[in-house]
Subunit: 359 residues, 2 copies
């Protein structure tokens, strides 16, 4: 079977072992005579998957039972609205760090509700970097400080955890969740759409301090309340079982591979391979991100001109390299090198980059 | 491979051909070298699936291009909130027919927003039937009349399309969508979670008149606005690609099987087989639903006592019959016989029912 090197930003490449397992048991899950997509979300075999996925995520993050894992549909974009709906008011607004497209979208949803303020923005730097700690203007009355930890489109990532004093720290980790160890206890709420680093599109993982999610405002619709998902173990209504099942397999794959330390080791190697090619190209490849903010997940770079960029994309495809075109707001190239991208795949891209430059 | 007769109410049995196709191409979709869960939602191969699924659904329903198909996450439960948020006000409230659990839940979400009224209820009849046309008290100023067309838990179904005058008709068809031809042009908005009749949990299909969904109220969050999904072809953010892919395969399977007429023919045969066993059992099996409201999708019945009911469930399992236990609010048994349940499977259940009664 031909398998390409898939550098798409999400949906993205998944571990081949996970896909093979899912395929092998697709018609007969757990010897039930049913597919995983046919079994009841109220059945014991499903509950086991559901709860094991939750437990593995907490274990990988080094979090205790003061944290809860929720599975919610609607993508990170629905979280952009649920967060201010559940937590922010005019008196205690959400405070937002603008470091790229998705953090700006998160801010906009809070602004629709008129409960938003901006703690910092690097828009004037064309989002080439994330703000430094001393640039963060955190309102001490803020309900939370919201950051997007890795900016998929611009290829930047936080290399420090913001100090927020008494203000709870919330983070969108859609594009770097479970990619490296962090002191996750410093966060009150973390969320991630799974389709980049963790699985198949269709579910968001929310990891939150239980004290934060046990009581939502009275007037909210049931499906927009974190306490609905918390009290019902994310099974108030039919869960997106297949997406959660794949998340569980990916979490198990991370555990079996050596956990977040090993993911970080591999991801550092992969990122270094590509950034070295960029830095050693005499300016042929120009990284978009400032070196201080370079992402371990999304490597963004330009070529000398757009004609060469088009040629690069086309020739890459002939070399079994797919999904390399950058987002239109940055232009050029983007190599998304999430957990499941192999070092071999990154080496293939690096070799191609060197050859292309020398051609 | 052992395959059980799966009478679960949802997630539910799917056509074996659909599962086999999905399995066969799971590692290499469309010769792309990627899995369907790895390909970009912005890619041409994905868009083709997405748009073909939409077109097939409209074609099956006999609807023209004044209708649009949306794919939204969050289950029917999120629709319960989105509908009043998008359409109802205190002056023009949503009017609800209460015919079971889910229609009551839909009403509750509108009531949270204080924009709900009740057009009719059969709660005092323990939801054994749906209301008749002449029981519907429709406020002429209502934004819509909301009905749940098939009541999964109680096993009842509308056998007529309510006449609503100038009030738009909205229907939750989660458990009978695409199960039979109807004059769908009489509805302004129809929605269905796909995990009963149409696919794998993780997406809701909304079929609506375009004039209804082209402009949502200004202050709504982006992901709760029907116009977001309409304007962006349900691709504002990453779509639940796998769930939509399976819906597309199921819609194609219905088309290739002969369309809704053929589904209705098979479903009538299946329902008749089971209702005949009930009606010819000298009262051993007692149907929950009044005959006038019997569902073609969910056949609910009790046995003489709970001990026999427990025994029935256990022995059914030994006969390769799964998912037959009823919902706790009705008790007894429920056989969900959606499109994908074969006549052979229903005959196996009927044979078992006869044997069990005579044992």
């Amino acid at each position: 079977m031909k398998r390409v090197y898939n550098f798409n930003p999400g949906p993205a490449t998944l571990p081949l072992e996970v896909l093979q397992e899912a395929q092998a048991e697709f018609l007969n899950f757990n010897n039930s005579g049913m597919s995983i997509v046919e079994i009841s979300h109220r059945s014991k075999p499903y509950e086991k998957i559901h709860n094991q996925a939750k437990a593995d995520i907490l274990e990988l993050m080094g979090l205790g039972d003061d944290y809860e894992v929720l599975f919610i549909q609607g993508g990170a974009s629905l979280q952009f609205a649920m967060i201010p709906l559940n937590f922010a008011t005019k008196e205690n607004p959400g405070s937002y760090v603008l470091s790229g497209t998705f953090s700006s979208n998160a801010y906009k949803e809070a602004a629709i509700l008129d409960v938003a303020e901006i703690a910092a923005s690097t828009k004037n730097d064309n989002f080439r970097r994330v703000p430094n700690q001393d640039e963060l203007k955190i309102n001490p009355n803020a309900a939370y400080l919201h950051v997007c930890f890795n900016n998929t489109i611009y290829g930047t990532e936080f290399h420090y955890i913001p100090e927020t004093g008494n203000v709870p720290l919330f983070a969108d980790m859609s594009s770097d969740m479970l990619s490296r160890p962090l002191d996750f206890n410093k966060f009150s709420l973390i969320y991630a759409g799974v389709q980049k680093n963790l699985g198949a599109a269709g579910v968001v993982i929310v990891v939150a301090k239980k004290t934060f999610i046990e009581k939502s405002p009275d007037i909210l619709p049931t499906m927009l309340r974190y306490d609905t998902f918390y009290k019902k173990n994310s099974l108030y209504n039919t869960s997106p079982a297949f997406a959660i099942y794949i998340v569980g397999k990916v979490a198990a794959w991370i555990k079996n591979s050596g956990g977040l330390e090993e993911m970080a080791r591999r991801n550092s190697i992969k990122a270094k391979i590509l950034y070295d090619v960029i830095d050693n190209s005499n300016g042929f490849y120009r990284g978009h991100a400032d070196k201080s903010s370079r992402s371990f997940m999304n490597v963004t770079f330009r070529l000398p001109n757009e004609e060469l960029e088009k040629k690069f994309v086309a020739e890459a495809l002939n070399n079994n390299i797919s999904g390399i075109k950058g987002h239109r707001s940055v232009g050029g190239m983007r190599a998304s090198i999430y957990n499941a991208m192999t070092i071999e795949g990154v080496e293939a891209l690096a070799d191609f980059m060197v050859k292309f430059r020398n051609a």
